[in-house]
Amino acid sequence: MNQIIKITFALTISCVIAASAMGLAYTMTAKAKKHNHHMNVYNAMIGLLGFGEDNPAPSDLKFLNVYRYIVEDGDKKFLGYMVPVEKGTEEAYEMVLIDLEGNFVEKLEVPISAEKAEEAQDRAKALQKVLAAPKIFAYADASVIATSGGKRLGYVLPRKFPGFRTFIHGIVAMDPKFELLGLEIMEHEEDAGLGKEIEQEYFRNQFKGKSYEKLKTLEVVKKPLPVEYKKYLEKSKWEEGMFTEEQIAEIRKQYKDADIYAITASTISSKAVTDGVKNVAKKFAYRIDKLDSVLKKEKIHAAF
């Protein structure tokens, strides 16, 4: 008995010490960690829109988030879009409910500030107030609409889709006509030397510039990647004078409607990414179309 008490006491003390050490480290690093993650995503988004060191982003570039929720009311299901709206100078959010056929149901004001809207917990709290029981809501995804000078520059879609091992987290960017601006792979667990190659430019950049029409029928082909095309795709390895303007235009024209060349020995990963991008793009194009027509019809002045 004495032993048991002694051991319990010793273990408890060790656990308390360990827990306080970990807690201390967490509170000291939480802010910097979050900032890093935020900057990572932000830089990826800027890059996908085609801005970089030699082409700085315009100062009035704004990233506006549209959050999609699935809302259930009894046995009826709706899509709820939390959209930023213009209201004087301040940014406000409105929840627009649309039924599954794409018809407007109702709009609700969400009492939340732009800063707090980025936090999933704060958002859920604010939504709880307007979507009271028996309505249930579940977060689906967030889409980012990039605007500059009141015009849309493009859509940036952070999404996850199934890969060969687990989910692949990526960002798909499209211009307002749904032409692909690019693909960025943020997190994945594919095999090194095989599926991991999806990170490489020669694979990712194949998606760049694919029109929406082509995207619908995009396939993966098991053919070797032409050498010249590979050199062209690896933009970060370009040297001065490697390609003339005409050559670039010609390559671009030649491969504009080409399918995606599979990575050697990683056809499944290649196919998973291609299908993922295809799905993300097609679904988003359909949804934003419906949302836009509803916003127009109901005269909701969204900030984008």
């Binding site: 010793a10 360990a18 480290a25 000291m28 910097a32 960690k33 667990e189 030397g193």
Partner: protein, 205 residues
């Protein structure tokens, strides 16, 4: 019992060569097989293990007189887990570039046999300076083994060294897969044993 006390330098060198965690003690084979696909991976994981090993060894060595003998293993695990978490958090916050490459590995260290084994065999019986050198040597030995494994597998599997294309083609793609890890570890183990045997023979003869 006339076991000679080892000096700090001996402890340090033994960790790298005579008692190398992977080639001699055959501990922590999972990471050796799973992650040593490139030299860079070896360096990153090696550095992380080095830190955790040194920190845990020192901690346990400091509190060795207060640990209840019946619950020493949970205490070791707790110590390792705490250090891994702290290092994970600090890296994520202040060295995001390195964290992006080694984040996944750092969390794996909690389950490494080599660290627990060093705490049980050495740190809980020896004073701080000795434990420090032992941990440092073991960590470096692990890093050295991971790097040599990574070198062989990266060169044969992807035709690259440190991410630079040196061969221009991939000689044996099979070497990047986990099963080839076992083959490589086996061959390297044999190679290092052979060196030791030759060395001992020379010394005698």
């Amino acid at each position: 019992m006339a076991i000679k006390e080892k000096t700090n330098k001996q402890l340090f060198v033994d960790g790298i060569l005579k008692e190398n965690p992977i080639f001699k003690l055959a501990l922590s084979m999972c990471p050796a097989v799973g992650i040593s696909t490139s030299v860079m991976n070896g360096i990153l994981l090696g550095t992380a293990v080095l830190f955790v090993q040194v920190c845990s060894s020192c901690t346990i060595s400091l509190v060795r007189n207060y640990i209840h003998p019946k619950i020493r293993i949970p205490t070791y695990t707790l110590t390792i887990a705490t250090w891994v978490t702290v290092i994970d958090l600090v890296l994520a916050a202040y060295v995001p570039v390195a964290y992006k490459a080694m984040g996944l590995f750092v969390r794996l260290i909690v389950a490494f046999a080599i660290i627990t084994m060093r705490l049980e065999m050495f740190a809980c019986k020896n004073p701080l300076p000795k434990s420090f050198w032992d941990g440092f040597g073991m960590g470096l030995g692990f890093m050295f083994a991971m790097m040599t494994l990574g070198f062989v597998r990266e060169l044969l599997g992807s035709g690259m060294i440190m991410g630079y294309d040196v061969l221009g083609f991939k000689p044996l793609l099979y070497f990047v897969l986990p099963c080839a890890g076992f083959v490589t570890v086996g061959l390297m183990m044999g190679f290092f044993n052979w060196i030791e045997v030759v060395y001992e023979r020379r010394k005698k003869g």
